[in-house]
C-alpha cells in the first residue's frame, strides 16, 4: 500500500521507479489508499472537517493523475492498481479533466511550446480500457451505475472500511438492496473483481 503522494513528491517522481519496477516484476497488485499523504496540503488545514474532505481524499485523485500523466502506466503496462476509499464519484470528473487537458496539450499547446507535449502515450480512457485500473466504491455512491458504464463493471471493488468509525455497517446488504445495479454487477463488485485484483483465485 502507498498513499496518493510520496509526501511532497508526486507518484510519477523518478525516484519511485525502482519501486514500481519491483511491484510490476513481481506481478503484485498495488493499492493507492486515501490518507494524509501530502504535508503541503495537510498544512493548509487547521480543522479536521475540511481536512478530512480534501487533505485525506484528494491525494488518491492526485495519485491517478500523476501515475497516468507521468507515464507510469506506459513504463509498466502490466501494473495493476486500485484507488481506494475515496468513493467513485470522482472518477468521471478526473477522467474528463484528463481527457480535456491531454488533448489540449497534445493538439494545441504543443504547437506553442513543444515541451508541453504530454508524457503519457495514449488517451486517458485507453488506459482504463486495458483493465488494470480498479476503483473502490462507497455503497451509497449515487452515480455508481454511471461510473460502471464509464470504466466497466469489472473494475469496481467493494470495501467495508471496518472497523473505522465513519463506515456504514452492513454495507454488503445495502449494496445488494440497490435497484439500480444489476445482480451480475453486484456479484462482480462483491466477489469477482476483488478476487481478480488480489489474485485470490479459489480463495
Amino acid at each position: 500500500m502507498i498513499l496518493g503522494t510520496a509526501g511532497d513528491r508526486l507518484l510519477d517522481d523518478p525516484s519511485l521507479l525502482p519501486f514500481y519496477e519491483a511491484v510490476a516484476d513481481a506481478d503484485l497488485p498495488l493499492a493507492v489508499h486515501v490518507g494524509w499523504a501530502c504535508p503541503a496540503i495537510n498544512n493548509l488545514y487547521s480543522h479536521i472537517y475540511p481536512s478530512g474532505v480534501i487533505a485525506f481524499s484528494m491525494p488518491v485523485l492526485m495519485g491517478l493523475v500523476s501515475m497516468m500523466s507521468g507515464g507510469i502506466f506506459d513504463r509498466f503496462p502490466n501494473l495493476r492498481v486500485v484507488y481506494l476509499e475515496a468513493g467513485c464519484l470522482w472518477v468521471h470528473f478526473i477522467l474528463e479533466r484528463l481527457h480535456h487537458r491531454f488533448h489540449h496539450s497534445g493538439k494545441n499547446l504543443v504547437n506553442v511550446v513543444s515541451r508541453t507535449a504530454p508524457v503519457q502515450k495514449i488517451a486517458p480512457m485507453d488506459y482504463v480500457k486495458k483493465g488494470n485500473l480498479y476503483f473502490s466504491a462507497e455503497i451509497e455512491d449515487v452515480l455508481l451505475p454511471q461510473v460502471m458504464d464509464l470504466v466497466g463493471e469489472s473494475q469496481i471493488l467493494f470495501g467495508s472500511d471496518m472497523p473505522h468509525g465513519d463506515r456504514e455497517r452492513f454495507a454488503e446488504r445495502t449494496l445488494r438492496e440497490r435497484k439500480d445495479i444489476s445482480e451480475r454487477a453486484k456479484t462482480k463488485i462483491l466477489e469477482t473483481n476483488p478476487a481478480r485484483f488480489y489474485d485470490l483465485a479459489g480463495f
Binding site: 509526501g7 489508499h33 494524509w36 487547521s46 446488504r173 485470490l200
Partner: protein, 201 residues
C-alpha cells in the same frame, strides 16, 4: 457468493512494535501509546510527535490507538467492534463481525500508516513498516479469511524494492506480501514473504 471486502483495516497497538517484530536498533525509540490529558484519549507518540492530531495546522484523524493499557479509548467505545476485533488480538471476534456483515474474506489495510510523515528518519519508518508487516504475517498465518496488505516506505525506495524482491524469493506458505496480499501456488493457495514476516531475533 462469498463476499470479499477489498478494504478493511486493522488498528495497530503496542504488540505491533513489540520486540518480537521491531528491529533491535530502534527499540529505544519505538512508537508508544500515551494517555491524553482528558480521560479516554490516547495517542501514538513517535519521535515526540503525537498521532492522531485532530486540532490545529496539519491535523489528521487516525482511528488508532483504540486502547490504552487494555481499556478502549473514547472513540472506540462508540464502535460495535471489540478491541480484539479491531486490534486482531482475537481473530474469532473479527470473524464474528465479518459473519454478521456477510463478509467471507477481508483484505486488511493499516491505520497508522495513513498519515505522513510518521517520522523524518527514513530508516526508522522502514523499521516501523517491517514491524507492521511481520506482525500481520505472524498473527494471520493460521487462517484463510483475513489477508493483509503490506506497507512500503516511499522515503526508502531501495529498501522497499529490496524487501519486496527478497521476500518474493522466500518460501510461499502463508498470506501476506510486501505490497498486497495475494493468492498463489503455495501449499494453501497463498503467498508468503518470509523475510518480511519472520519475527525479529
Amino acid at each position: 457468493m462469498r463476499v470479499i471486502d477489498a478494504d478493511g483495516h486493522v488498528e495497530e497497538n503496542p504488540i505491533t512494535f513489540s520486540d518480537k517484530y521491531f528491529a533491535p536498533e530502534f527499540r529505544a525509540q519505538r512508537p508508544q501509546v500515551v494517555a491524553g490529558n482528558e480521560e479516554g484519549l490516547a495517542y501514538w507518540m513517535i519521535d515526540e510527535q503525537l498521532f492522531p492530531r485532530r486540532l490545529g495546522k496539519g491535523c489528521n484523524n487516525l482511528g488508532t490507538p483504540v486502547s490504552y493499557q487494555g481499556i478502549p479509548v473514547r472513540h472506540a467505545r462508540r464502535k460495535p467492534d471489540t478491541l480484539g476485533s479491531m486490534e486482531l488480538t482475537n481473530l474469532k471476534e473479527r470473524l464474528q463481525i465479518m459473519d454478521e456483515e456477510n463478509i467471507w474474506l477481508q483484505v486488511l489495510y493499516p491505520t497508522l500508516f495513513l498519515a505522513y510523515p510518521l517520522s523524518c528518519n527514513p530508516a526508522y519508518v522502514s523499521a516501523m513498516c517491517d514491524a507492521y508487516n511481520r506482525w500481520l504475517g505472524d498473527v494471520l498465518s493460521e487462517q484463510e479469511r483475513l489477508k493483509w496488505v503490506g506497507v512500503a516506505n516511499l522515503d526508502d525506495i531501495p529498501g522497499a524494492a529490496t524487501r519486496l524482491t527478497s521476500a518474493l524469493c522466500a518460501t510461499r506458505t502463508t498470506a501476506g506480501s510486501a505490497m498486497c496480499s495475494r493468492s498463489r501456488s503455495g501449499s494453501n493457495g497463498s503467498v508468503s514473504l518470509t523475510s518480511m514476516i519472520s519475527p525479529q531475533r
